[in-house]
């Protein structure tokens, strides 16, 4: 990051959502990197950009494909890399052919000249990288959006090298680690294929159980299953779906209809309030032991610093006890015991990461197969080896597909959601401290729309979607353009943003389209449910 030449920060407001990572980005910028920020909002991150590309919400694939076509037609594609390391280029080339600069401008709203310049800068750079966050993945085309960006990296050879690559910035401190450990519906620990009989067999022998050769359900599929009576019992650990998931009323109905809802939590969250059984847990990041994996695949130790309060129990203890009471006693392993078992079942992945080494090296980036391995600074270097290591990287044909719900006469605004610097997710943790930056929730809208609606910062507005309605204070934000409004999910107790959002789900990832739904905004007769403390920022 600090030694790259071109950065595409795409669908990410890392300045607020990943502040310390943004320090590294700014070091890169100060070292000479050219920064492009693709975001419908001109965010704090975009303020640092050499070029802010304010694409229409949900036009990411169109923008990527337009750049790709331009790179190909300008002769800037990395032909050698494409030939040695990729497959499917011809189909890809054909698929982007219709995305001329003019066509791209019509879909994205970004002037053709700006798209062309960015495409050339990316392709010509010695080193370039694309980093993204939920602006890419909280769409019903989430996976296709990601593939579109990967295509750009493959097209230009910006992958598998220092200072290059396609980098998702993880939004939570262990969302990566959860996947590493197999807490995803379609993989075993170490991202091993559950459908592969040999792999499955290894785990079955080790664990003494039979594993079903099929993928589990993702969150959206679970909700669907609950609604259809196919799933009647749910064990929620450290998640607050009652407030964090799209179309909140629907989620609440689903959770309330369960036969058995068990919630393991550090607080009595909204979800916990709906539970049949609540298991008060330690806040493991400082009241327990273990590891987390950060955005750069670095496995890091977390350590017990203080005792959990009251009856809250260590999370491993809770899991072990539940297992025991379900008839499977594996004693009370320590976090290190569990980790060492993981190292055994995924040796190619984490074999070299003993607790001692994690401690000594301040974390290790996977893969780290043995104790002499320093960890991996970046992935996919194999694509540059001669002969190429492993299979070819596939181009993916993806097409522009606008958000499911588009503004119309009845719901003329697009509501998009995101994070603010000082708060986090549903505010369960960040509600615990006061700061001058805590302004409470607001509906952010452009000065033009504010004028048209006759509202000023602090005035109450009613926001209504096809699914729900709420009242919130307005906040005029110059960084929004007319027709677009913005909210966060940080204050669900005061402003239930997710009653508005749509659960249009990406079929491949199960992610809902938090980034776009159609709403109506009106001056509210009544006062807002909460006063708004924020001063207007120019």
């Amino acid at each position: 990051m600090e030694e790259t030449d071109v950065i595409f920060l795409w669908g990410s407001n890392a300045r607020e959502a990943h502040p310390i990572w943004f320090h590294h980005l700014l070091k890169g910028v100060r070292n000479g990197a050219r920064l492009y920020v693709m975001d419908p909002r001109r965010t704090a991150s975009a303020h640092w950009a050499d070029v802010w590309m304010g694409l229409e919400i949900g036009s990411d694939i169109a923008l990527s494909n337009t750049m790709a076509r331009e790179i190909i037609h300008a002769g800037l594609a990395h032909k050698d890399f494409i030939a040695r390391a990729t497959e499917g280029f011809d189909a890809y080339r054909a698929s982007v052919e219709s995305y001329t600069l003019d066509h791209g401008e019509r879909i994205t709203g970004i002037p053709a000249a700006a798209i062309r310049e960015a495409a050339h800068a990316f392709a010509r750079a010695d080193r370039a990288m694309i980093c993204w966050t939920l602006g890419i993945t909280e769409h019903h085309t989430a996976v296709d959006n990601v593939l579109a960006l990967i295509n750009l990296c493959l097209l230009t050879g910006h992958v598998g090298r220092w200072g290059c690559g396609a980098n998702p910035l993880r939004g939570q401190n262990n969302v990566q680690g959860g996947g590493d450990m197999g807490a995803i519906p379609n993989r075993l620990p170490g991202f091993q294929d559950i459908l592969d009989p040999a792999t499955r067999g290894r785990f079955e022998r080790l664990w003494g159980v039979t594993l079903e050769p099929r993928h589990g359900k993702n969150l959206s599929e679970m909700l669907h299953a609950i609604e259809h009576g196919e799933m009647t019992s749910l064990f929620v650990i450290g998640e607050n779906p009652a407030q964090s998931d799209a179309d909140q009323r629907r989620v609440e109905r689903g959770l309330a209809g369960l036969d058995n809802l068990v919630v393991q939590e550090i607080f009595l969250t909204r979800t916990a309030q709906l539970a049949h059984v609540v298991l008060p847990a330690a806040a493991t990041w400082c009241e327990g032991e273990g590891t987390v994996t950060n955005s750069e695949r670095r496995v890091q130790r977390i350590k017990k610093t203080v005792d959990p309060p009251g009856d809250a129990r260590d999370e491993l203890w809770i899991i072990s006890e539940i297992a025991r009471r379900l008839g499977r006693d594996f004693g009370h392993p320590t976090a290190e015991d569990v980790w060492n078992e993981f190292r055994t079942v995924a040796p190619h992945f984490a074999g070299g990461m003993s607790y001692a080494r994690l401690e000594a090296l301040g974390g290790i980036q996977w893969p780290c197969p043995d104790e002499s391995h320093p960890g991996s600074l970046f992935l996919h270097g194999r694509l540059w080896e001669t002969p190429r290591g492993g299979r070819a990287a596939p181009f993916s044909v993806v097409a522009h597909d606008p958000p499911v719900e588009r503004p119309d006469a009845e719901y003329p605004f697009v509501l998009t959601t995101g994070r603010r610097l000082e708060s986090y997710n549903t505010g369960v943790q960040t509600g615990g401290y006061d700061s001058p930056l805590h302004f409470g929730e607001s509906l952010d809208l452009s000065p033009e729309d504010a004028e048209r609606l006759g509202v000023a910062t602090g005035d109450a507005v009613r926001v209504t979607s096809r699914r729900g309605s709420l009242v919130a204070p307005a906040r005029v934000d110059r960084c929004l353009r007319a027709g677009m409004v913005f909210m966060t999910l940080h204050f669900p107790d005061e402003v239930t943003t997710n009653v508005l959002t749509i659960d249009a789900v990406d079929p491949k990832s199960g992610t809902a389209e938090f980034k776009a739904c159609a709403v109506r905004v009106e001056r509210a007769a009544a006062a807002a449910e909460t006063p708004f403390a924020g001063a207007g920022r120019r």
Binding site: S45, V51, M53, G54, P447, R478
Partner: protein, 633 residues
């Protein structure tokens, strides 16, 4: 940058002033109004926007000139236009004495209160102004926060205005659509009274008579044209021999020009006396590009006004010299950093630049030879420290004028981090003759080590104050004679040689030859050519206290020895002067010496390193503060 702007909006007046300097905003994102459709989907900024940072000081000066102070809204608009964080801009605005960050009257009369003016009546003048017209700004009792009538002129005390040949001196500034800046000499209480009552300041053309007493002397080189040739017309300059050196330099080529300068043994005239040829050669050889030239016209050393005379009365020569220097050192851009207190010089240099551009002596294709070089004037804003060669970089880059630690030296890492040659005005003024006559011929004047002629600024109690040009090696006594000696039959008490950063010499040292080698051997310095003469009637204690106050005021505040040392030095001197020395005068002098040594050894730049010099000479050479022991003996 994700800067947070103040909520206050700029006034129309402020917006107009800034747009006149920077042009209209290009988008809603750099201070323009919303509504352009392109702005909603793309904006350009980043590095390109941040690289306009160097325009910060000119922008703040534009607000000051138009409105008379820098308001929250005005500051915010500048920040929006230039991508500068407001706190950063505030730090810059509060650094410079001539920028006001609290409401200030449109018209302010800055009355010089410094040593040269004090030697001839400034204290009586300021006392009279204070009793007749009220206290000066800033009003300290409430930290400057007062409600005031901005239409009612006010006055302030000022450090040396560089008009020591026409004391007492003042500078009038008036903000508005046609701002006024005028330097006035021989100021009387009557004039100040009328200025404060709103009368128009008298016109002045800086008539040369007073300043070049040697005018017409055929031996003059640097001053040959000053006062004799119309400084506003290029044709007059050319008729008097100007312009030939530039043509000759282009024929010779950079290496030959530098070889001649090396052979001339010319050394810098700003105070540090570094060999000019070596500096040029070092810059020329630097592989990093671009190279920059800076003409240091920020002469602010109390008692110094020689550069003002050259800038005001021979401006074409300064510009021609810069063009030669730029050509020789591989620069395409030069800056002339001019102290704010010289409005007439600003006008004359500006005029010279435009006439010489029209004549093809500057610009894209100088004299048709494919050489590119042009000059931009940057003005100081009331900060002595900006004459320091690295503080000048910071100031041009739009920052606080805080000197940099050296090394790296400017020849490698100067303005904008690029190789930079910084030369004083007088140093450059020697160049045309060296180019035309050759370095060897130049070196025949003066002594073996100190070649050429030098300008000296005679002020204080002399019969004919002004700038004098003499060959290096002339004695101090001969120079004093040239200026008519001490008038009114009074006895010479002391001479401050080299400025506030120089040293006092005694009446028995008039045999001192004015060369670098002789002054160094005597433990003094030529500095910037100040020869400030004090007769027996002058209160030298007061002069020393004023010098101490000057350094305290002008310290940039960056390093501890200077920031606090100048305070402690002034306090100790005041204790002695006030008769309340802690532990006796000798103990106080020992303490001052300890502070002074730490300032000299430990400060970042020349200001702190010399802040003790004049005080030390007053103690050790003049024995101005008799201790009990000395009194006994």
């Amino acid at each position: 940058m994700d800067i947070r702007l103040p909520e206050a909006e700029p006034s129309d007046e402020e917006r107009i002033a800034i747009d006149a300097l920077l042009g209209p905003p290009e988008s809603a994102w750099d201070g323009g109004s919303r509504g352009r459709s392109r702005d909603s989907h793309v904006s350009y900024g980043g590095r390109a926007a941040r690289e306009r940072r160097h325009l910060l000081l000119p922008a703040l000066q534009a607000l000051q000139a138009r409105v008379g102070w820098i308001s929250e809204g005005g500051l915010g608009y500048v920040c929006a236009r230039l991508s500068v964080p407001p706190a950063d801009a505030w730090g810059v605005a509060t650094f410079y004495a001539l920028l006001a960050t609290e409401p200030r009257p449109r018209r302010v009369v800055h009355v010089c209160d410094d040593i040269a003016c004090r030697a001839r009546g400034a204290r009586a003048l300021t006392a009279a102004i204070e009793s007749e017209c009220g206290a000066p700004l800033p009003h300290a009792e409430n930290g400057g926060h007062i409600a005031l009538d901005r239409e009612r002129p006010a006055w302030m005390r000022s450090p040396c205005l560089g008009l020591c040949d026409a004391v007492p001196a003042a500078l009038v500034t008036e903000a508005g659509t046609s701002p006024i800046e005028r330097q006035l000499g021989n100021v009387t209480i009557g004039l100040v009274r009328s200025l404060l009552a709103g009368a128009a300041p008298p016109k002045t053309d800086g008539a040369a008579e007073a300043m070049v007493p040697q005018r017409g002397d055929p031996a003059l080189r640097l001053l040959a044209r000053a006062g004799s040739v119309d400084p506003t017309r290029l044709d007059a300059y050319r008729a008097a021999g100007g312009g030939k050196a530039l043509a000759r330099a282009l024929e010779l080529g950079p290496e030959r020009v530098i070889a001649e300068v090396v052979e001339s043994k010319l050394v810098g005239r700003g105070g540090a006396a570094f060999p000019t040829g070596r500096k040029w050669d070092a810059v020329r050889r630097q592989p990093a590009t671009p190279h920059y030239l800076i003409c240091n016209a920020d002469e602010s050393e109390p008692g110094t006004f020689k550069d003002r005379v050259l800038l005001t009365h021979d401006p074409f020569a300064v510009v021609e010299s810069m063009a030669i220097a730029g050509f020789a050192t591989g620069c395409e851009k030069g800056y002339l950093y001019l102290r704010a207190e010289y409005p007439l010089a600003h006008e004359r240099i500006g005029n010279a630049l435009s006439q010489m551009r029209r004549a093809g002596m500057l610009g894209e294709n100088i004299l048709g030879r494919g050489v590119r070089f042009d000059i931009e004037i940057r003005r100081g804003a009331g900060a002595y420290i900006c004459g320091e060669e690295t503080a000048i970089f910071e100031s041009i880059e739009g920052k606080r004028g805080e000197p940099r630690n050296k090394p790296p030296y400017p020849v490698q890492h100067g303005l904008f981090g690029k190789p930079t040659v910084v030369n004083n005005v007088e140093t450059l003024a020697n160049i045309p003759r060296i180019v035309l006559e050759g370095g060897a011929a130049f070196a025949r004047t003066g002594t073996a080590q100190s070649t050429g002629t030098r300008l000296f600024c005679l002020s204080g109690n002399v019969a004919r104050p002004g700038v004098y040009e003499v060959a290096c090696g002339t004695t101090l006594g001969a120079l004093l004679e040239l200026a008519g000696g001490v008038p009114n039959g009074r006895r010479l008490a002391a001479i401050l040689l080299g400025g506030a950063a120089g040293a006092f010499v005694r009446p028995d040292e008039l045999g001192l030859r004015l060369t670098h080698e002789d002054t160094r051997a005597a433990g003094v310095t030529l500095g910037s050519g100040v020869v400030m003469v004090f007769d027996e009637t002058v209160d030298l204690h007061d002069a020393v206290l004023r010098i101490a106050a000057f350094f305290r005021d002008e310290s940039c505040g960056q390093c501890v020895p200077c920031r606090v040392g100048t305070v402690r030095q002034e306090e100790a001197l005041h204790r002695i002067a006030g008769g309340c020395a802690r532990g006796g005068v000798a103990a106080e002098l020992a303490l001052i010496d300890e502070i002074g040594v730490a300032m000299r050894d430990g400060s970042i730049c020349g200001l702190g390193q010399t802040a003790y010099a004049a005080v030390e000479s007053a103690v050790k050479r003049l024995r101005l503060f008799p201790t009990a022991e000395r009194k006994k003996s």
